[in-house]
């Protein structure tokens, strides 16, 4: 119904402004209703102003910029309806090292109240994990889990970001 959507929209839009400012240092994002007159029918547009650039629709941005904005929206929806845990599957795939680092710091900040399980191939992301588990298939088609030492991953990540 229209009031519920309107309330949710405005709260999520407020979160979105805050979260985008953190992920796009010096930039910001806005959620825009496509039909501000007709809350029953309106869709939601994502507008982004990366640092130094102008506001445009998310469609004209790069793969990594889109990925970061999409994550901001998912986090904003999550803040509207929080849960004590959050599972992320390879959300860092399109990001450069600097943005992976910013995302990692945002996750660390949220992790005070939310427990995260993060699937990743990225050595910079691995650095913020308290512990790492490796999925392996020694026997073809059958998954086993092993514990992985942080130190080795950390060394590789430090070297990779050098």
């Amino acid at each position: 119904c229209r009031d519920r959507f309107a309330d949710v929209f405005h709260r999520v839009a407020a979160h979105f402004q805050d979260v985008t400012k953190k992920l796009f240092l010096g930039g910001e994002g806005k959620l825009i209703l496509t039909e501000s007159e007709d809350m029953m029918e309106s869709g939601v547009d994502i507008q982004l102003r990366p640092p130094g650039k102008g506001f445009t629709s998310i469609a004209s941005r790069s793969g990594g910029e889109q990925s970061l904005a999409g994550l901001c929206l998912l986090f904003s929806l999550f803040m509207e309806k929080p849960s004590p845990f959050c599972i992320l599957d390879e959300v860092d795939a399109a990001l450069d090292d600097v943005n992976v680092g910013r995302l990692a710091r945002l996750i660390e900040e949220f992790s005070e109240k939310i427990q995260f399980v993060i699937v990743t191939h990225n050595k910079v992301t691995m650095q913020i994990a308290n512990c790492l588990f490796g999925a392996t298939m020694e026997e073809a088609g059958i998954t086993k889990l092993i514990s992985v030492r942080m130190k080795r991953a950390q060394e590789a990540a430090l070297a990779a970001s050098a």
Binding site: F5, D7, V8, F9, V12, T34, S42, G43, V44, D45, I46, Q66, S67, A69, G70, L71, L74, L77, F78, E80, K81, P82, S83, P84, F85, C86, I87, L88, D89, E90, V91, A94, I107, E108, S111, E112, Q115, F116, V117, I118, V119, T120, T125, M126, A129, N130, C131, L132, F133, G134, A135, T136, M137, E139, A140, G141, I142, T143, K144, L145
Partner: protein, 165 residues
């Protein structure tokens, strides 16, 4: 820190019993392509009561149960258990630890258990909806889901907001 452990057996590529522990605030899961990391993510959605096969990356119920390999036969059912710390009683149930378990058979029948007692799906859904965990719809961001919300039409995107209402 509410997640304690996830136990999988017969679910997708987990032919043998596997226990995933969650001993920290940020737990990393790594490993080569195709080794089962996203299957762990699917298992969390599954045990929280997900009904949509699409969100479980399955086209039929069978796809959720170990299909067998060259040396081992397919299993007849799949099972996932998620154990949560409830020492703060954030879940409205009087146990310090809460284990939800879901078993599925090839005929599609699912059975649910709460600390070993058989319950209905809606008992589990009710317990979680009261605390914001709605089948993991916001708690689980699957592989490629970020790109999906970006390429969605403004109208499709609205549905995400309606689910959060």
């Amino acid at each position: 820190m509410v997640l304690l452990r996830l136990n999988l057996h017969g679910f997708k590529s987990f032919a043998d019993p596997v226990e995933v522990q969650f001993p920290g605030r940020i737990v990393g899961v790594i490993g080569p392509n195709g080794c089962g990391k996203s299957n762990i993510v699917d298992a969390v959605r599954f045990v929280l009561g997900e009904q949509s096969l699409r969100l479980l990356r399955a086209r039929k119920i069978d796809d959720l149960i170990f299909a067998g390999n060259i040396r081992r036969p397919a299993t007849s059912m799949g099972e996932v258990g998620l154990t949560l710390d409830n020492s703060t009683r954030w879940l409205d149930i009087d146990y310090p630890e809460v284990e939800i378990r879901r078993m599925i058979q090839r005929d599609g029948e699912s059975r649910y258990f709460l600390n070993g007692a058989a319950v209905r799906l809606k008992d589990i859904q009710k317990m979680f909806m009261d605390v914001g965990v709605n089948k993991g719809h916001y708690s689980v961001i699957g592989q490629g889901q970020v790109q999906m919300i970006v390429s969605a039409s403004p109208e499709e995107r609205r549905q995400y907001f309606e689910e959060a209402a």
